[in-house]
């Protein structure tokens, strides 16, 4: 099982932002995506997760294997942490949330309403959601926002454990996580609009 | 010139007047917007051409 992109081009708001993205991610590997603000990391990850169509190129191995965590956490403020996780586990046909709670030291916060958590605590709960999906490919957009150093360590451990178990991870981040991972710098891949095919405005050029 | 419209003159003239007014407004707005859009396009096409050379 592997995720492979070949010559992918993506657009945001009808404007091409990245082109020529190709890589293969095998079981147990992680890839860190870097690039300055506005270079298209979020757009790339959303495309891989299937939330928006690609302009051109192909993505293989992403069907029903991706768990996506974007800037928003997907947690309900009025449900407790445990209720939120149990719900997402059920959506993915699973039950057990204890491992996820343990990995992010959430046990003491388990019965708190998610809306009353601090920014970093909420983020931890959002990351724990990935573990209850049971999906092999984690696609993470700036996962460590608001996390303190201890929590960043917890997160790195969780990713390492996931990789050891044969999972894969794709992370967009601006800070160094101390993971043993390849780095894809998207700066050189920025789209040249005039060479792109399939852009929604291409027909008008 | 204008035919005898009898007691309904107001209604008939009003209906014609209002309708033609609306049609004229639609036409003018359409043409104005179209002119603006086409002018902007011409400007940017010239700029693109200049960049192509430079």
């Amino acid at each position: 099982m592997a995720l492979s992109l070949s010559d992918l081009a993506v657009a945001r708001g009808g404007v091409p932002v990245l082109s020529g993205v190709s890589f293969t991610l095998d079981a147990g590997q992680a890839l860190v995506i870097r690039g300055p603000n506005g270079s298209g990391k979020t757009t790339l990850l959303r495309t891989i997760a299937g939330l928006q169509p690609a302009l051109s190129g192909s993505i293989e191995g992403a069907d029903d294997t991706v768990a996506y965590a974007g800037h928003a956490d997907g947690l309900k403020a009025m449900l407790s942490v445990a209720e939120n996780l149990t719900f997402w586990a059920a959506v993915y046909g699973r039950r057990n949330i204890d491992a996820a709670l343990a990995a992010y030291a959430l046990a003491p916060l388990k019965d708190r309403l998610t809306g009353t958590l601090s920014a970093g605590q909420k983020r931890r709960a959002g990351l724990a959601r990935l573990m209850v999906t049971g999906r092999p490919i984690w696609v993470l957009d700036e996962p460590t926002v608001s996390l303190d150093t201890h929590a960043v360590g917890l997160f790195a451990d969780a990713v390492r454990a996931h990789l050891r178990a044969g999972g894969m991870a794709l992370l967009a981040t601006h800070i160094d996580l101390g993971l043993d991972a390849d780095v894809l710098d998207v700066t050189p891949l920025l789209a040249q609009a005039n060479t792109l095919h399939g852009a929604s405005d291409e027909a008008f050029l | 010139m204008i035919p005898d419209l009898g007691k309904y003159a107001e209604a008939v003239l009003g209906a014609y007047g209002l309708s033609l007014l609306l049609l004229a407004a639609l036409l003018i707005l359409t043409l104005r917007r179209g002119k603006k859009a086409r002018a902007a396009l011409r400007r940017i096409e010239e700029e693109t051409a200049r960049h192509g050379k430079g």
């Binding site: - | 209906a15 609306l22 036409l27």
Partner: protein
């Protein structure tokens, strides 16, 4: 050469440039002749007096209002199935024209109703379904305006147009079920006597033709405007990248 070739903006613009002069000219002639004939050269109706002259605007406007929606429905389907940009933009371009025609139909009808039925408005089935059509136009245009990304806007409005058409049809039956009409139906029109019929009928047909051509010309021109806007956008992006 297939019809779909004209879905390419350049081909479309070329064709449209060739057709437009004729369309505008024919529209102007048709409307002028139809209205002038109707206004100056037709007799009054024996029951309705001179108000019958309103028919030369009222019926063409109502006809365009309904058919513009049908055209938008077809264009939306083409966009959803074949993703030809021109057809989505043509639907967008037609909507305001349809809206204005609806308003003209409503206004002339209301003005006509005051002397004929003694009221500006009644909840007659035909009038009511026309009002509902007006609402559909409003919603459709508002949705186009509200969505940022042009392709998403095209997708969403197309879905709305599709679902809306089904419900518009349903409403038509619902309204017929709900209220008895005042409005003349096609069968019970004013032409009780054969000879008068033709007198009213011919200028009306000319006027309908003129309005249809005007609609065609407007939609072609407005689609051109939309294409220009999209092209400006695309070129702007390209310039941004270069600098």
């Amino acid at each position: 050469m297939s019809l779909w070739e004209y879905a390419n903006p350049v081909k479309f613009l070329a064709l449209s440039a060739r057709v437009q002069p004729f369309a505008w000219a024919a529209a102007a002639i048709g409307i002028f002749v139809g209205l002038a004939w109707g206004f100056f050269a037709t007799p009054d109706d024996f029951r309705q007096g001179s108000t019958v002259k309103i028919i030369y605007i009222h019926v063409p406007a109502a006809w365009i209002a309904i058919n513009a929606w049908i055209m938008m429905l077809v264009a939306s389907l083409v966009w959803l199935v074949r993703r030809h940009h021109v057809s989505a933009l043509a639907a967008k371009a037609a909507a305001p024209v349809g809206l204005v025609m609806t308003v003209i139909g409503l206004l002339t009808g209301a003005i006509w109703g005051q002397p004929m039925w003694g009221t500006w408005w009644a909840w007659d089935p035909r009038l009511t379904s026309f009002l509902i059509l007006f609402l559909f136009y409003l919603g459709y245009i508002a949705l186009w305006e509200a969505v940022e990304d042009p392709d998403t806007a095209a997708d969403l409005t197309s879905v709305l147009c599709l679902v809306g058409s089904v419900f518009a049809l349903l409403s038509r039956y619902a309204v017929l079920f709900w209220s008895q009409g005042l409005h003349q139906g096609a069968s019970l029109s004013l032409d009780k006597e054969e000879n008068i019929s033709n007198v009213f009928w011919l200028p009306l047909v000319v006027s309908i033709g003129g309005f249809t051509l005007l609609f065609l010309a407007l939609v072609l021109y407005r689609t051109g405007t939309e294409i220009a806007l999209r092209r400006t956008r695309a070129l702007g992006v390209r310039l941004d990248r270069h600098t």
